[in-house]
Symmetry: C2
Subunit: 460 residues, 2 copies
C-alpha cells in the first residue's frame, strides 16, 4: 500500500524535502502516541512551518481523499493522534513560535506547536501565569492541549485549557483559513466557534495558532501532605475543605498501590501502609494562603489524618509534591504496559468511585493504582498490565468497561481530560444519549464532509 507517488510529490513540493518523512524507519516514532497498545504506521509525516502550508496540505488531501491525522508531540492518552492506515501525519511541532505577549491585555499568541512549558515560561518571564498544567506539559504542544481541552492539577481552582483560549486560527478540511476570537474579554458576536474546536480532537479542523489569556501570578503558595489510614477520611477531608469555602489550587490524591510504587521509585519517605495520601496546595495573597493552609491542616487532622506535613519552604514543597508528580512514572515502571484511565465523577461521588475501582481490581484479579485530582473528581485508575498477555488484557477491558459504566451511573464521564480518541470510542455511546451522538456526527459532517480529518476517531 502506502501513499500514491503524486500525493508524496505534492507534499514535498509544499513543504520541501527536509520536512517530509517517508522511510519506514523514520515513520516508526510517529506510529503511536502516549496511549498503550495502539500503533499504526502512517503513509508519511509532513512538517509544515506556516499556516499557508497547512492549508495547501489539506487542499491536497481533500483533492486526493487522503486521511490526515494531526499531531503535536504525541503525548495523548486516548489514541487521538495514532495514525490511520496510509494517512498523512500532519505534525505541527515545527510551528512552535511564541508570536506575541501583550502585557496590556494579558494575552499570548503562539503557533500550535509551541510547548505548554514554553508558554508557561514566557508568561512567567513577564510576571504572569498560564495555569493549565497537563502532566505532559514539558513536551506537549499547545495545539494538542486545545484539541484535547487538556486539564491538569490546577483545574479545580483555575479551570482547564478551554478557560484560557481567547482565539484560534483554524484551517478547515477544505483548506480555508480563519481566525475566530480576539483580545476582548467579552465578545458575543456569533456562535462561539472557538469553543466548538476546543476539544474536537483533530476531527473538525487543524488548529494553527492559539491566542491565550494570562492572569496575574499568585503572590504566595503553601503545600501540605496528609496521610490517612482510611480512604473515607481523605474523601471527607476534601468535602469539608470545599464546604468551608476553600478552593485550593491543588487537591490531589494517591491510593496505597500508587503510594507503594512511588516510594519504591522515588524514595520520598512515605509510610507504605497508608490507605490514602492527599497533596494540598493553596495559592494567592500571603494572608489568605497562610489562613487557608492552617484551616486545611485542621480539617485534615479533625478527619483523623495520621500525619500532616506542611512544607516550610519551596524545596520542601517540591519534595512533598514529588510524590504526586511522580505517580505516573512510578506506576509505569512496575509493569510492561500502563493503561491510564480518567473516569471522572462529581466530587461528591469520589470516595464511592475509588472503592468501586478497588473492588473491580479484586474481582478481575488486576493491579490498579489510582491517583488523581480529588478536588475535581478526576480520577486516574491505572492498570498495571502486559499487553502481550491477551487473557489479562481481556480482563483489563472488562474491568475498564465496568469502571466507565459506574462513572456514568454516578453522573460522571468516561473522560475528564484525556479525550475520546480511539481508546474511549466504544464507550462514548454509553455516556451520551442518541440525540447528542447524532448532533456530534452532523457537526462533523458539516465541517469535514469527506471525513478526511482523523477518521475513525471519537464517534466516527
Amino acid at each position: 500500500m502506502g501513499l500514491p507517488d503524486p500525493v508524496l510529490a505534492g507534499l514535498r513540493e509544499i513543504v520541501g524535502p527536509d520536512h517530509l518523512l517517508t522511510a519506514p524507519e523514520d515513520l516508526i516514532p510517529y506510529s503511536f502516541d502516549g496511549t498503550a497498545a495502539l500503533q499504526q504506521m502512517p503513509g508519511c509525516v509532513v512538517f509544515p512551518r506556516e499556516t499557508a502550508q497547512v492549508s495547501a496540505i489539506l487542499k491536497l488531501a481533500q483533492r486526493t481523499r487522503t486521511p490526515v491525522v494531526t499531531r503535536g508531540s504525541g503525548t495523548g492518552l486516548s489514541g487521538g493522534s495514532v495514525p490511520v492506515p496510509d494517512c498523512i501525519v500532519l505534525c505541527l511541532a515545527r510551528m512552535d513560535r511564541i508570536l506575541e505577549l501583550d502585557r496590556a491585555n494579558l494575552t499570548l499568541l503562539a503557533e500550535a506547536g509551541a510547548t505548554t512549558q514554553a508558554i508557561a515560561e514566557a508568561a512567567a518571564a513577564a510576571g504572569l501565569f498560564y495555569p493549565p498544567d497537563p502532566g505532559s506539559m514539558k513536551i506537549s504542544t499547545i495545539g494538542g492541549n486545545v484539541a484535547e481541552n487538556s486539564g491538569g492539577l490546577r483545574g479545580l481552582k483555575y479551570g482547564i485549557t478551554r478557560n484560557y483560549v481567547m482565539g484560534l486560527e483554524v484551517v478547515l478540511a477544505d483548506g480555508e483559513v480563519f481566525f475566530t476570537g480576539n483580545k476582548c474579554v467579552k465578545d458575543v458576536a456569533g456562535y462561539s466557534l472557538k469553543d466548538l474546536f476546543i476539544g474536537s480532537e483533530g476531527t473538525l479542523g487543524v488548529i494553527t495558532k492559539v491566542l491565550l489569556r494570562l492572569i496575574p501570578r499568585p503572590a504566595a503558595k503553601k503545600t501540605l501532605l496528609a496521610l490517612y489510614d482510611q480512604m473515607e477520611a481523605a474523601a471527607q477531608t476534601v468535602s469539608d475543605i470545599i464546604a468551608s469555602q476553600i478552593i485550593p489550587c491543588t487537591l490531589e490524591f494517591l491510593d496505597r498501590t500508587t503510594l507503594q510504587c512511588v516510594e519504591a521509585y522515588a524514595h520520598v519517605g512515605l509510610p507504605l501502609d497508608c490507605e490514602a495520601v492527599l497533596l494540598m496546595e493553596t495559592d494567592g495573597h500571603p494572608a489568605a494562603v497562610q489562613e487557608e493552609a492552617a484551616r486545611m491542616e485542621a480539617i485534615a487532622r479533625r478527619n483523623g489524618a495520621r500525619e500532616v506535613r506542611v512544607a516550610g519552604d519551596e524545596a520542601e514543597a517540591m519534595r512533598l509534591a514529588a510524590a504526586r508528580r511522580n505517580a505516573f512514572s512510578a506506576l509505569a515502571r512496575v509493569a510492561p504496559t500502563t493503561i491510564l484511565e480518567d473516569a471522572t465523577v462529581p466530587r461528591s461521588e469520589l470516595a464511592r468511585m475509588v472503592r468501586f475501582v478497588q473492588e473491580v481490581a479484586r474481582k478481575y484479579n488486576l493491579k490498579i493504582g489510582t491517583f488523581g485530582h480529588m478536588g475535581d473528581g478526576n480520577l486516574h485508575p491505572t492498570f498495571l498490565t502486559d499487553e502481550r498477555n491477551p487473557e489479562e488484557m481481556h480482563r483489563v477491558e472488562a474491568a475498564a468497561r465496568e469502571i466507565f459504566q459506574e462513572a456514568i451511573r454516578l453522573g460522571g464521564t468516561i473522560t475528564g481530560e484525556h479525550g475520546v480518541g480511539l481508546a474511549k470510542k466504544p464507550f462514548l455511546p454509553l455516556q451520551l444519549n442518541p440525540v447528542e451522538m447524532r448532533v456530534l456526527k452532523q457537526l462533523r459532517q458539516v465541517l469535514d464532509p469527506q471525513g478526511i480529518l482523523n477518521p475513525g476517531k471519537m464517534f466516527d
Copy 2:
C-alpha cells in the same frame, strides 16, 4: 393574517387555554423587548410549564412550518426576542423553578425561566456565589442569559455566563430533547455542545434547564470611586491597576454626559465638571482586599485623580456604586429613545475608543453618553435620541456604523454582551470573515434545517 386555527388549537391542547394568549391587546407586551425602535406583533404567545410541552410545541411548529421566537422576560438589548410576523412566541417565564442546589458539588439546577436574581439569592442563601450580574438581573431569566451569553459588571474577574454553565437541557427544532453536560468539573467526552448553544440566541434550540456552577462567596469587599478631569488619566489608572497584577471585581467607567444625567436623576453628589468617573471594587480575603484597595487608591491619585472616595461601610459602598448602577436609567430618562450599544475593544484600546465615540457624537451632532466595563473593554455608548425623528435616526445609524467599524479596526467586537439579534445583524459580516460566516450558517442549517427558530436573526 394571523396563525391558522389548527395551529392555535394544537397549542391550546398542549398547554391548556390558560397558557395561550391570542387577543391583540394581550400580545402587545410581547411585541418588543428591551431594544429601542423594534416592534412586531406575534401570532400568539404560549407558556409551557414543562419540557415535554416545549417539545410538543416545537413538533407542531415544525410540522406546520410556523416560526418560533423564544423569550424569557424580554430584557434583551439586541432585538433577539422581538417576534417575527405570525410567529409563536414561546415564553419560558412560567418554567421558573430552582430544582436543586447541590452543596457538595457547588451546583444549581434551574428551569430556564428562573430569574438571575432568584438564582443569585438561592446561591447566597447557601453561602455561595453566582457571579454573573447582567444589568437586568432582577428580572432577566437564566435561559435568556445563557442564550445571549450575558456579561455584567463582574466579568473582568469572574467571567461571564458561559463560565458558569455546566450543563443544559435543550429541545431541538424537531422536538428532540437532550441534556448535555454534568456535574463534573472536567469532562471532555465529545464536542462541547453546551458551548455551541450558549450564546446561540434562540437559533439552534430551546434551552429548558440550566446546570450552573457556584463558587464560594468572597469574604470581604471594598468600593472606591475616583473622579478625573481627564479621560486619559482614568484610562491610565485602569492600565496601571492591571499592570500591577490587580484584577478588581469591578472597574466601571462613566463619561461626563452620563455623569451629568446620573446626577440630575439620582443626586449622588458628584461634581458635574468631571471628565470621567471610575468605580472600583475589590473582593476576596480581607487582607487582600485591604491591600488592593490601598494600592488602587494610590494608583488613582498618582494618575491625577482629583478625588478618590473610599467607602467606609456597606451603605456608603452602595451610594458610590449607585452612580454606575443608575447610569442606564438616568440616560434613558433624558430622551424619548435610548439606544444602548456595546461596542467592545481590547482593554489597551479603551481610551482611544472613548475619544472616538466623543468625536463621532460631535461629527453627527448627537448626544451620546458612554459608560461601561472599563476593566474588560466593554463600552456602552448610549444614544439619546428620538425614534420619531427620522432625520436624527439616520444620523444615529451612521454614527453607530462608524463606532462598530472603529471597534473592529481596534481588534474589538460589535457586541461584548448584548448579542447580535436583529440590531447588530447588518454589522456581523464586518467583524467575521466570510469563512466564519459560512460556518455559522452551516451549523444552523444542521440543527434547524427548516429555519423555524428565531428566523431572520443574527446572520439568517
